[in-house]
Amino acid sequence: MTENTNRARPISGPVLNRSLRWMRDNLFSSPINTVITLLCVYIIWNVLDVIVSWAVLNASFGAAKEACEAATGACWAYVHDMWRFLLFGTFPADQHWRPLLAMVMLTSGMLLSMNRRFWSPWLAVAWIVGFIAVYFVLRGGVLGLSPVRTAQWGGLTLTLVLAVVGIAFAAPLALLLALGRRSEMPLIKVVCIVVIEVFRGVPLISVLFMASVMFPLFLPEGVSIDVLLRAQIGIIIFQAAYLAEVFRGGMQAIPKGQYEAADSLGLNYWQKTFKIILPQALRLVIPPTMSTFISLFKDTSLVVIIGLFDLLAATRAAVNDPMWRQQFIEAYVFIALIYFCFCFFMSRYSAYLDNDLKKSTSH
């Protein structure tokens, strides 16, 4: 962009002229650039050719399975047949409106929370109420809803529950860990350092494995904690350990003068932290925070190793369905698109928020 404006060409004339000029300036400005441009066009053309002919030109879009036999490309009938399974897993088929409602609640909650106008302590209260509602919608056993065990929750529903609950609880926990690690009280500091370093030092898979296999060994006879809850707590602590270091980095980037100004005005530790330091520190670390959230979203797929049935696990089960010849490419492309939509959206939101906050405090 800056290069363009530096050349300061007047923007006028018909669109065609302008785009030709843009191409000349940016794509064909020298012999080397011309060669690179042509090479890239060639590569892109070949890749697109393969993708488009597989996904569109040679694909069969009908709902009928038989049509696929003839098609050489993708068989989208498969996704048509399987999407309920991918979204809801093994949730009882006549109750599918419940996980759908849960997903709508979670995603609309996220969308509303993105609006800065709603940022207040009430938002946290609303989320807690929302989580309780989602829990009962899925679990049932109240208001005449039939009970559904957590082991039957699955598909995208389970992925969303793990991810959204994970983000909602990992962030405040990370904040406490980060503050604790910077604390001057030795006991608190040591505890926080140990939690952060231990959970950052082991892979998420082993955290989940320990939560599922080892943790019950320490419980007294007869007491059991739901495996989904254990996995959820494992994910929360694991991601909080990473996020704590992100937050701590942000706090360290705040100039000493800000602390001194707050001190000399007589603000106490909590006022200084919540009114002066954190609002600035968290702003600085929006991009890496969102990165952590995105990896949390994708890492929920690891719960498959302890027998939970998330989106990826459902897909793996679906491609083994004997009714179909193995349409694994279609299935994986489909869920890749789902993952991508969520993650790309989070990434765009992070960029928007970053910009918006910068704009509002400077020229």
Binding site: P255, G257, Q258, E260, A261, A262, D263, S264, L265, G266, L267, N268, Q271, K275, I276, P279, Q280, R283, S360, T361, S362, H363
Partner: protein
């Protein structure tokens, strides 16, 4: 002198006795004795690294001293957190780099501490804030963010922010050193006005014109010690110590 008599029967606000401070092995302040009367205007000068900023930063505990006593308004300044909080309400600091809170508007910068520390209702805090913004001639910028103001404007906001706490003593740590030359005057004008209204001020500065005009006493520091102190006319015209003479010849010589 008339200046001295003006202050003779005033009470001391700050008393420093035999204060010593080290950074590790480095002895940064040595045997500092200082007595500040109510309404007294003191300018502290000296070469860089002489400990003058460190001295005033000790007075509201932005730095810890290791030996000696500091008493503010009769309250002992030490490890006691409650005492520190009480003293900080009365002793405000204006910094070289302003240290405004960049994420808050000018108005919010001014009302934050009165609302949370002095527990003033929002409306009252805002009224006070606007009063002081008008006094530093910057009321029209109330809803802007610090990043949108010039250096001189930011420093005037910082002074107003301190005034909102209704302090008994104001510390200025090189308040004009980070400013472009054309903005120094607007900040000094505000400080002169404050001095004339009787605010107790300790000011670390190289603005000798300001010292001559408003100071009751000029303190010269070198190598962590108070080398010489006197009322401004005597200090500038008849310095006693060789180090003072050298320093004055360097900064007034050009």
């Amino acid at each position: 002198m008339t200046e001295q008599s003006r202050l003779a029967d005033r009470e001391s606000v700050i008393q420093v006795k035999k204060m010593n401070k080290w950074y590790g092995d480095f002895h940064v302040l040595t045997d500092i004795d200082l007595d500040v009367k109510q309404g007294e205007r003191i300018v502290i000068c000296g070469p860089s690294g002489s400990g003058k900023s460190t001295l005033i930063r000790c007075l509201n505990r932005l730095e810890e001293h290791q030996e000696g006593d500091i008493t503010v308004n009769g309250i002992e300044l030490g490890d006691n957190v409650k005492n520190i909080e009480v003293i900080r309400k009365d002793v405000c600091m204006v910094f070289q780099h302003f240290n405004l809170f960049p994420h808050l508007t000018v108005l919010d910068n001014l009302t934050l501490a009165p609302m949370f520390v002095l527990k003033q209702p929002k409306r009252e805090a805002e009224a006070t804030a606007m009063k002081f913004l008008e006094r530093v001639k910057i009321a029209e910028q109330a809803n802007k963010f610090p990043g949108q103001l010039s250096g001189g404007q930011q420093q005037r906001v910082a002074i107003a922010r301190s005034l909102c706490m209704n302090p008994k003593v104001m510390l200025f740590d090189e308040p004009t050193s980070a400013l472009d030359p054309e903005m120094i005057k607007e900040v000094l004008d505000v400080m002169i006005e404050l001095a004339e209204e009787g605010m107790t001020m300790l000011c670390v500065t190289h603005e000798m014109g300001f010292a001559k005009q408003v100071a009751d006493r000029v303190i010269f520091m070198d190598a962590g010690q108070i080398v010489e102190e006197n009322e401004p006319h005597e200090f500038f015209n008849n310095p006693q110590n060789d180090r003072t003479k050298l320093f004055l010849s360097q900064i007034l010589g050009h």
